[in-house]
Amino acid sequence: GESVGLHLPTLSVQEGDNSIINCAYSNSASDYFIWYKQESGKGPQFIIDIRSNMDKRQGQRVTVLLNKTVKHLSLQIAATQPGDSAVYFCAESYQKVTFGTGTKLQVIP
């Protein structure tokens, strides 16, 4: 498998439970944020995005929350499924896009 998952924090979640993945961003001027999912051996895949004028955005089974006061972003996945197992990372955008290092989500059947 891909070595991208090495040395990453791991979140283990029971199938059917909700998952919450957190991300601290660095630039208070960042105005656009994105969550990506990366499965082993594949490229990152867009999940959901949010602009800085919002604090919450919902997609299908996913919700992103943005707290600009503490520069914190979270991704909530409802009813986690085995297919959700992957590395998840956030990205912040100001003059350039900066990617986080990621969290490995492990779903326990």
Partner: protein, 113 residues
């Protein structure tokens, strides 16, 4: 649509050799990017292009070159490969630059020995 297609998937190079990583997209995106991904690190931008004929350096451009003769293609050239260039390389495209999500290819795993 195939999206972003990268070739080859894997490659082993000897120190000092050269190669071109190919990238093509069929979404008619103006913006294209090359990133490298090292274990435990976030994606690092090597080069990017905002349209055919226009390229610019990213954070880690040394040892690489790019060209953008068409909207679809954005090849990355490695000259005089070094062990520090061992990495996974991702090409990506986007519709509107930094305020739109990136569409990634599935990567090229390069080993330089």
């Amino acid at each position: 649509n195939a999206g972003v297609t990268q070739t080859p998937k894997f490659r082993i190079l000897k120190i000092g050799q050269s190669m071109t990583l190919q990238c093509t997209q069929d979404m008619n995106h103006n913006y294209m990017y090359w990133y490298r991904q090292d274990p435990g690190m976030g994606l690092k931008l090597i080069y990017y292009s905002v349209g055919a004929g226009i390229t610019d350096k990213g954070e880690v451009p040394n040892g690489y070159n790019v060209s953008r003769s068409t909207t679809e293609d954005f090849p990355l050239r490695l000259e005089l490969a070094a062990p520090s260039q061992t990495s996974v390389y991702f090409c990506a495209s986007s519709r509107q630059g930094r305020h739109s999500p990136l569409h990634f290819g599935n990567g090229t795993r390069l080993t330089v020995t």
